[in-house]
């Protein structure tokens, strides 16, 4: 009997160690909710203040203002997620900078940086309509790629972002609404699910 409880304990330990050493589990769900809110706020700013002033789409001032808004959303989201994940890791007595988090970051960055470069090329070529679809698709690919190294939900979020991006390409004059759905609503729903499942 004793050896059986021991075996069960052994297996439990093995499973835990395998999971902890191969997946980054300090990713915060709350940061998803924040990132989604920033994206929606950014879209709102663009829709209320920037777009009405510039009815013509091929305007360099308009483009510059939209880039500033998008970059602010990106930077705020990254900063919030680093802060919250760092806090979560600290609470669990873990480091945010580990072999697993480095692997996660590498796998996330390859599609993401490619997408960033692609977007810059689109900007120079004046193919404005494909920017939102491109951002969504590359971001989705990055999440699918990184999903193996953190919560499984990230993988499914990635699939949904890719689908959203493809639809955005199909209806490319409605970019702002696909931005709101892909970067806003999907992030909030994802963050809520992860938060409920792993953090409360």
């Amino acid at each position: 009997m004793d050896s059986i409880t021991n075996s069960a304990d052994d297996l439990k330990t093995i499973r835990k160690i395998m999971e902890e050493s191969s997946r980054f589990l300090s990713l915060s769900g709350l940061s998803g909710i924040f990132a989604g809110s920033y994206a929606i706020a950014g879209a709102l700013v663009a829709w209320l203040f920037i777009l009405p002033d510039h009815p013509a789409m091929d305007n360099s001032v308009l483009r510059f203002q939209l880039i500033i808004v998008a970059l602010s959303v990106l930077i705020l989201s990254i900063a919030t997620s680093l802060y919250l994940s760092g806090r979560k890791a600290k609470k669990a007595g873990k480091s945010i900078w580990s072999p697993v988090s480095r692997r996660l970051l590498l796998n996330l960055m390859i599609p993401l940086v490619s997408g960033g470069c692609f977007t810059i090329i689109l900007l120079f070529r004046n193919d404005i309509q494909l920017i939102v679809p491109g951002l969504l698709i590359f971001y989705g690919l990055a999440l699918v790629n990184a999903g193996k190294f953190t919560y499984g939900e990230v993988f499914y979020l990635g699939i949904l972002e890719i689908l959203t991006g493809l639809f955005a390409a199909l209806f490319s004059d409605q970019g702002i609404w696909f931005w709101v759905f892909g970067f806003g609503i999907l992030h909030i729903v994802y963050g809520f699910i992860v938060y409920r499942k792993y953090e409360s």
């Binding site: 050896s3 069960a8 052994d10 330990t13 160690i17 395998m18 050493s21 072999p99």
Partner: protein, 98 residues
């Protein structure tokens, strides 16, 4: 001996060795500090268990330089993976037999 316990491997009886093998089953390689963070053991204890596993040919040691700093990482050998999987299966059998 064909009974349930026969697959259980004495080498893996220690929790630390179990932990080392678990890490190496899901990671191509891991260095000393990586084990220390995951398993939370003292240096001496960890080193002696790593040495024991290495002597049995279950893990291999890779020494390399990162910049100027020497870095030692460990990875599981094929034999190590085979034996650990056998051990896992016996643990499961033992539990399922109840």
């Amino acid at each position: 001996m064909k009974d349930l316990i026969s697959g259980l491997n004495k080498t893996f009886e220690s929790r630390i060795r179990l932990g080392i093998m678990s890490v190496l089953m899901v990671n191509d390689s891991c260095d000393f500090n990586g084990f220390k963070d995951t398993l939370g053991t003292t240096d001496g204890n960890l080193a002696s268990h790593l040495k024991a596993l290495e002597e049995k040919g279950l893990i291999q040691v890779n020494k390399q330089f990162i910049g100027r700093k020497p870095n030692t990482s460990y990875s599981a050998t094929e034999e190590g993976m085979r034996q650990f999987q056998l051990h896992l299966r016996s643990l499961e059998n033992l539990i399922n037999s109840q």
